[in-house]
């Protein structure tokens, strides 16, 4: 249902960042890798009408805070016209690049069905695994460890 994004967490202060880095930006401590959900809220955004070399304008860029966990990432989007700070968005990853899409109810439903297909059994499995995953998140201080629930989900995705 949701994209998994690689990040890293500081075992000392709990800071979570994405993409993962070796050393915590707050102090010289090695971080551990974690998996984060591609779901968050818009912190700020802009549309560049003068893009740098290698990009075509208009270039839509947003900074998104992943929920839960609090890591922030930059991503591209189709447009920023209807965007607002605080708006919930889903993150998709293609070729290692993050894209945001607004996540209202209809978006969520269509994303869900697009990804999972219509089979009721598969839906029940997906919901179960999502619940498991969210529970593991809250137990682990806002980050998702590479759990069996995640692996189950990946298998589902591959089967499709």
């Amino acid at each position: 249902m949701m994209e998994i994004i690689n990040g890293s967490r500081c075992p000392e202060c709990g800071l979570v960042v994405a993409p993962p880095v070796r050393i915590c930006p707050r102090h010289p401590r090695e971080m551990v890798t974690v998996e984060l959900f591609g779901y968050g809220s818009i912190l700020s955004y802009t549309t560049l009408t003068a893009a740098p070399e290698g990009f075509k304008p208009p270039l839509h860029i947003a900074m998104v805070e992943l929920l839960p966990g609090g890591a922030r990432i930059f991503c591209h989007g189709k447009e920023t016209r209807a965007l607002k700070i605080g708006r919930r968005v889903a993150i998709e990853q293609m070729d290692g690049i993050f894209y945001f899409a607004s996540l209202d109810i209809t978006d969520r439903v269509s994303m869900f069905w697009k990804r999972r297909g219509a089979a009721p059994q598969r839906t029940r499995d997906a919901v179960k695994s999502a619940v498991k995953r969210f529970l593991s998140v809250y137990k682990n201080g806002g980050t998702a460890p590479p759990s069996s629930a995640n692996q189950e989900e990946k298998k589902h995705a591959e089967k499709k």
Binding site: V17, S44, T46, L48, A50, F74, I85, I97
Partner: protein, 374 residues
């Protein structure tokens, strides 16, 4: 720690210049040496990206030799767009420590010969790699800061335009400025959008130029009273707040602590307005205005030449121009000229001045305090 004094301050006109980087820096440096009438025993050189812009390396020796100072020990200092202030700090430390007595600090940048996308790409290398890989340029990050501040109601788009209008009005009176003509509110607010909500007239230009300051241990009356540096994560996304810069706050605290006085004594300020909203945010980060009051000051005209606290009498980065490594020094030059009555056409009454310089997207910032004591 020894007191450090300013013996001379000089700069070239900023703008689109035909001269080479070496000649721009030589113009400023030779004028400073003539004014000070003394020879340096150390040279601090700065240019942010001479390798990329003009293809020169080993830059301290290159400029040392070009200036006829090849036997004077030289070093190059670089902290992105605040390199000029960083070089001043290095010179300050060389004298305060007792290592040297007269230090020439010279900075310059030459970039108008390159295309705007090329300049933009080179400057963008000061940004975190993940953020840059999404096409984030300095205007893009500044736009995100401005957007967050607008959403919080810290100021309006009109207030951003007011800053640009004020600084252009000052630049129109400064023969050293890149832009020497005023702009109207309408012109600013209808100029083309660069990075929504920032428009062309909210952004500083790409300028060539150079500046030089001769520092000395001998009292001259113009004292480098204090300097402070502040830093922050290279990545903007790691920061807890988008609408204030920790690097400016820390730099200001350190500078005031060293000088032994507070922001209430400052009577004129040069602020790093690479983007108009940054001027408003900096005034509060430095402590020149309490939180929420800087916008009022912009609206009331308190920051104009005849106002309570003239800010950017030179025209700021917006109108005087932004020649990267020359800028931090040019700000100090303007403050020295204001304190010593040489800011013809735009002179204010002041004995204590402040210069504020931002490196990168506020990753390496400086606050400099200069005091006229005689």
């Amino acid at each position: 720690m020894r007191d450090v004094w300013i013996a001379a301050a000089a700069m070239t006109r900023f703008g689109r210049r035909e001269e080479s980087l070496e000649n721009l820096m030589a113009d400023a440096a030779l004028e400073a040496l003539r004014d000070a009438d003394r020879q340096p025993d150390a040279l601090v050189v700065t240019s942010m990206a001479p390798e990329e812009f003009v293809g020169e390396g080993n830059f301290a020796s290159h400029i040392g030799t070009y200036l006829g100072l090849s036997r004077v020990p030289s070093l190059r200092v670089e902290t992105a767009t605040s390199s000029g202030a960083a070089a001043l700090y290095a010179g300050f430390a060389l004298i305060a420590s007792g290592f040297h007595t007269n230090v020439l600090v010279a900075g310059g940048e030459k970039m108008t010969h390159a295309s705007t996308p090329r300049v933009s790409e080179i400057i963008s290398r000061v940004i975190d790699p993940h953020e840059r890989s999404y096409g984030a340029t300095m205007p893009a990050l500044a736009a995100m800061v401005a957007r967050a501040a607008l959403a919080k109601g810290l100021f309006s788009e009109s207030d951003m335009a007011r800053v640009a209008v004020k600084n252009h009005a000052n630049g129109a009176r400064n023969p050293y400025a890149h832009f020497q003509k005023p702009v109207t509110m309408e012109e600013v607010m209808s100029s083309r959008v660069i990075a929504d909500p920032l428009r062309l007239q909210h952004c500083c230009p790409i300028s060539d130029g150079a500046a030089a300051i001769l520092l000395t241990a001998d009292p001259t009356g113009t004292k480098l009273a204090g300097m402070g540096q502040g830093s922050d994560y290279l990545a903007v996304r790691y920061r807890s707040s988008l609408t204030g810069f920790r690097a400016t706050q820390d730099a200001a605290k350190a500078a005031f602590r060293m000088a032994g006085f507070g922001p209430e004594r400052v009577q004129v300020a040069e602020i790093h307005d690479a983007f108009a909203p940054f001027e408003i945010l900096a005034l509060e980060d430095i402590g020149l205005f309490p939180n929420g009051k800087a916008t009022k000051a912009v609206q009331n005209g308190e920051l104009m030449l005849e106002g309570r606290l003239p800010v950017n009498p030179s025209g700021g980065l917006k109108a005087r121009g932004h020649a990267l490594a020359a800028t931090g020094l040019a700000q100090a030059v303007e403050i020295v000229w204001q304190l010593t009555g040489r800011a013809w056409g735009r002179q204010v009454k002041a004995k204590v001045g402040l210069a504020h310089s931002i490196g990168g997207m506020a990753t390496n910032n400086w606050v400099t305090l200069i005091e006229q004591v005689a």
